[in-house]
Point group: C2
Chain length 209, copies 2
Amino acid sequence: MSGRREEILDAALDIADEHGLEAVSMRALADRVGVTPMALYRHVKDKSALLDGMIGRLLTALLPARTPEDQTWEERLGALGHACREVTRRHPWAAHLLFSRPAVTPDAVRAVDIVYTALIDAGVPESQVPRLERLVSTFVIGFAASEASGRFSPGTLDPRSRRGQLPDEELPGHRRLAPYLDLPVDLTAEFEADLEDIRALIRAAAGRP
Amino acid sequence: MSGRREEILDAALDIADEHGLEAVSMRALADRVGVTPMALYRHVKDKSALLDGMIGRLLTALLPARTPEDQTWEERLGALGHACREVTRRHPWAAHLLFSRPAVTPDAVRAVDIVYTALIDAGVPESQVPRLERLVSTFVIGFAASEASGRFSPGTLDPRSRRGQLPDEELPGHRRLAPYLDLPVDLTAEFEADLEDIRALIRAAAGRP
DNA sequence: ACCTGAACACCGTTCAAGT
DNA sequence: ACCTGAACACCGTTCAAGT
């Protein structure tokens, strides 16, 4: 029950928030905790175990203390999705780590269970629930990771880079959509619209037993 | 036009395929090419530019030489999705890199354009096409990254880890779905089913102008 | 139990120098 | 133009030793 481990993990979170994940080294972490690098191995075993511990801390913060019973399945799914996106907006370095490790910690299993019960309540046939859970979580984590890594906003780097590198006649889609492509994107509204489309997909799956 | 750069990038791909992405160091790459580490900077500028160049090579291999005109939009979307998954199955280390960099290279822009035209042909209102392109690509890359990183198969590490860590009454979804949770998953079939659900989502978007 | 010092085998990158 | 050698400021981790 030693809070020492949590203290170390939280120090690592602070370093990542301030200077990025690549700044989280055993040596820098030891410095921050006020100890020699080797002392960390008493509490963490490994660098990769350290990273696992860090996302574990985030998952604990992400989850609702108790799943509210008075919400519809649509609301519970939306709340979990927004919570996930909120965590990766606060800790952009964490986004791609969510893809790296399977859902084996207790908190991650609880998150999966929330989606399972939402899908069951939606009326999805039980044999289809595990697949649709993976579809939903893949999309939500993928959106969060795309936003965090800047995949959704290439224009900020070089506004004209999307076109110009190729002759326009080879990009009929871009030419046709030109009026829409330079508009700023409201990712919060887009995420909500995406979630609504996913909910419709789930309703369709529920309606074909 | 010097093929020297491509030679170096392909050597880096070989190292990653054989020993993982973390084995791709400037020094190891220089050894493989038969040169001193510093000589690489003549052709690559940076380590991160090296990584960009590597995914660039993969994207070129992934794309169809010319978009076939005789396929339906459903077929073109499916072909691109399967090509993407195929690349990350052959090069698992590449999956999470696809999330890191925005689609700015000519090949990446061409891939986006293929999805744009598929969505336009499906009848999606033009104002909705960019959002749905991001939804589709996020899901496809997310699926590929999940599969490559093992996020979809936690059972291979520890078959009983999903349950057992928490009391069963806190995991009603898992308890209810128990008969389905230990079955082996056919990810090829699952990806196809997911794609079909996404296509239905697109048809729905096309039907509400 | 918990921590330290010194050491090993690595990194990416800069800089001046060579041909 | 293209490459090299030496150096700088870092890594994760092991191992024997200290309290």
